[in-house]
């Protein structure tokens, strides 16, 4: 008797599922775009300070005796480029991993 009492007419979809699917697709796109955009903005903001930091490290490395550094002297003038490339590579790696997830 209770089963019969609780029975109800099926509710027609009438665009309900389409509405939710649209919302989900929008959300998926926003999520997909959010990280690359944030990475580009973050990199452009961080590029200046990163170059400054690389230059500072280079100047410090020039002051430190070369015997202590144990690296070829020829490499030191390009240290800032090497560091910058390393930082960009690390950022790209982290970004790519987050995108993959």
């Amino acid at each position: 008797m209770l089963e019969a009492m609780f029975e109800s007419e099926p509710i027609p979809d009438a665009g309900f599922s389409e509405q939710i699917t649209r919302r989900i697709r929008r959300r998926v796109w926003v999520r997909r775009l959010a990280l690359p955009i944030a990475t580009v903005i973050g990199t452009s903001i961080a590029a200046g300070p990163m170059v400054d930091l690389a230059q500072l490290i280079t100047s410090v490395a020039n002051v430190v005796p070369q015997e202590l550094l144990g690296s070829p002297a020829a490499l030191l003038p390009h240290m800032n480029i090497v560091l910058l490339a390393g930082m960009i590579a690390a950022t790209a790696y982290v970004g790519a991993q987050a995108l993959w997830d």
């Binding site: 609780f6 509710i11 309900f16 599922s17 939710i20 699917t21 989900i24 998926v28």
Partner: protein, 183 residues
């Protein structure tokens, strides 16, 4: 067979974020979810809003569906959680209004119905507590097993059985009394 198809669709959603497969899952189960929430809230518009939220949450959490039990059972668990969360939010909102000195007319909606103006089922549901209502609807309207209801409500199976028994007794007692009153 239907369960297998559900599992296949879920696999497609989890493995490749297939929105079309998820759309198909919604089409299959929206009626049950909306009916469940309509019976729980007694308000069609609110129930449909909650059903939308429920499916959005389901999309976010679908990787947590292990395939143990039916998909509709899992979906009703999400629906019930969504309902409880919304109720907590509206209660908190009412408290904030009250603290701010407003008249607390935003109290969480109490399931009350005018006798003689509503179908029998709504009269029945009105005498049950929220938990009893949810469990009775899952059992009788959605056809979930005691085990599935236990998973959905995070209550032990024994408690589910006793809630159903208590709900039935309540309806029987209440309406027998009412019959005598009116008789």
């Amino acid at each position: 067979m239907l369960l297998d198809e559900d599992h296949m669709l879920v696999t497609r959603v989890v493995s490749s974020q297939d929105t079309a497969a998820f759309g198909e899952l919604i089409r299959r189960h929206q009626s049950h979810v909306r009916n469940f929430l309509r019976k729980l809230t007694g308000d069609m518009a609110m129930a449909d809003d909650l059903a939308q939220d429920c499916f959005m949450h389901a999309w976010d959490k679908i990787h947590g569906y292990t395939g143990r039990g039916s998909f509709i059972g899992w979906l009703l668990k999400v629906a019930y959680t969504t309902f409880l969360q919304s109720k907590r939010k509206s209660k908190r909102y009412a408290e904030i209004l009250q603290e701010a000195g407003h008249v607390a007319d935003m109290e969480a909606k109490v399931y009350t119905v005018e006798k003689d103006e509503v179908p029998d089922l709504e009269k029945f549901l009105a005498v049950l507590t929220e938990e009893e209502r949810a469990i009775m609807v899952m059992s009788y309207a959605c056809g979930l097993s005691h085990r599935e209801i236990s998973d959905a409500t995070s209550l032990p199976v024994g408690t589910v059985k006793s809630v159903i028994f208590r709900g039935k007794e309540k309806i029987r007692t209440r309406f027998e009394i009412e019959d005598h009153k009116h008789g």
